[in-house]
């Protein structure tokens, strides 16, 4: 099943996909166009841990002139950088290079501590899509990628759906693509990840306990290009969903 969280008539609702529309938890059916989309994530009692991978596809590492890492390059994002499907992301004025990154997101389903990779999928609640925007003008070689590049307000759209793990038998074989104003600019497959989902769950849970609702953004393949105000950027993963976002220029 595909789950969403939406704002409709001033209230937040859990919803499920229903024949192209949305079925609200209270039984009402509403059109997808009539709602405002939130990240498809239930609130967590403590701030959600959002782990994100850099250089996790060999081709992207090459594109950015880095050798593939021996261990995961991971950074952390705060929850306030998240925004929903069909929302806007702001491009600061005067920047030269702001690019999308289409990423498969793992949503943790139960407390994970020292999990073995063979058991890793038991700890997955489901999957969604993130667009992990970066503004490269602000890159500095201190805790790189630094938060000024990666943790800006509105710069991590996520959704539209949280898709149950049971519906995705093999998350390591899904096509990803990004279009900018309808033109295909990025194309890859999750099978090309350097560190796959079971590895990542084993690796992180070896030193930090993951809780239900925590996220792992698994990195992006080759093909990132600059996005300008007005561009409609669609990051899409086979069987998971197509996440639509529009760039807005800061005045």
């Amino acid at each position: 099943m595909r789950h969403a969280r939406i704002l409709f008539e001033g209230a937040v609702h859990d919803a499920a996909e229903d024949d192209g529309g949305l079925l609200l938890a209270d039984g009402r059916r509403v059109a997808a166009e009539s709602v405002s989309w939130l990240p498809p994530l239930a609130p967590t009692p403590r701030p959600r841990t959002i782990l994100a991978l850099g250089l996790n596809y060999a081709d992207h590492a090459k594109e950015l002139a880095f050798k593939a890492p021996d261990e995961p390059l991971v950074f952390i994002k705060g929850e306030s950088t998240l925004t929903g499907h069909r929302q806007i992301t702001r491009r600061p004025s005067g920047v030269q290079f702001m690019h999308y990154e289409c990423e498969l997101v793992v949503v943790i389903g139960k407390t994970a501590r020292k999990v073995r990779r063979d058991d890793a999928y038991d700890f997955v609640r489901g999957y969604t899509v993130a667009n992990d925007y970066a503004i490269r003008d602000y890159l500095e070689n201190w805790y790189r990628p630094n938060l000024r590049v990666k943790n800006r307000d509105t710069c991590t759209p996520i959704g539209p759906w949280l898709v149950d793990a049971a519906d995705i038998p093999d998350p390591m074989s899904l096509a990803l693509q990004t279009t900018v104003d309808g033109k295909l600019t990025q194309s890859g497959n999750t099978k090309d990840m350097i560190f796959d989902v079971p590895f990542l769950i084993e690796y992180f849970s070896s030193f930090m306990t993951l809780s239900p609702g925590d996220l792992i953004l698994t990195g992006t393949p080759d093909g990132v290009v600059d996005c300008q105000p007005g561009d409609v950027v669609v990051t899409e993963i086979e069987r998971i969903g197509a996440l639509v976002n529009t760039i807005q220029g800061d005045a």
Partner: protein, 207 residues
């Protein structure tokens, strides 16, 4: 009940002059190539949070941890400062600051958190904070918040220029130079005038 943050906890690297100056000779060489311009931030995820008085587990592979005595600035509803709380930002010692320090800083329990928040109205100037770190009763570090690179106000403003800190989120003001190390069995006390002392003990992680 002990205070726990309701939002994300952020830390800042190199916010004390002595620490910054000590690293300055390396800042122009690879991999850094230039001193940092914007505040260099990191996160202490919720799994790291340890209440005052609790035992903090240290994995067997980690012989020593670095103590990071600091003050967390708690953000108010209007983006103002609601209060301040003592924090013990533990790390596995590491020398490179090129990549994010997740595996050094985000271990379970690696952030001691003071039992109570000191209301901002009780604080005339965060630059007046003076912290003392004792390990097993021995004084090991004195942190003088008049020696920061960015004042609390400046830090809040420079961070706010690129991301919004929400109500209940916490921005730690940095750890001073000469941070002491501690090991399993040690009792770490962080005290400061106006605050209740923060105490945590390091214990071996259960296998």
């Amino acid at each position: 009940m002990s205070y726990l943050p309701s939002g994300t906890v952020y830390g800042v690297l190199l916010n004390f002059r002595e620490e910054f100056d000590a690293l300055r000779p390396q800042m122009y060489a690879p991999p850094y190539n230039a001193p940092p311009v914007a505040p260099v931030l990191y996160l202490k995820t919720a799994n790291t949070w340890s209440t005052h008085g609790s035992a903090i587990p240290v994995p067997a592979r980690v012989p020593e941890v670095k103590v990071g005595a600091t003050v967390g600035m708690v953000i108010g509803a209007q983006g103002d400062v609601e209060g301040f709380v003592l924090m013990n930002d533990l790390s596995i010692p590491h020398t490179s600051f090129f990549r994010p320090p997740v595996r050094f800083k985000c271990l379970d329990g690696f952030l001691g958190i003071g039992a109570a928040m000191l209301d901002a109205q009780e604080v005339s100037d965060p630059a007046d904070f003076r912290l003392e770190v004792r390990i097993n009763g021995e004084p090991r570090q004195f942190v003088d918040f008049s020696q920061t690179m960015r004042s609390a106000e400046q830090l809040l403003s420079d961070v706010g220029a690129f991301m919004t800190l929400a109500h209940g989120e916490v921005l730690m003001l940095g750890c001073g130079a000469g941070r002491p190390r501690a090991r399993v069995g040690d009792r770490i006390e962080i005290s400061a005038p106006g605050f209740d002392t923060l105490v945590n003990t390091l214990v071996g992680e259960a296998a």
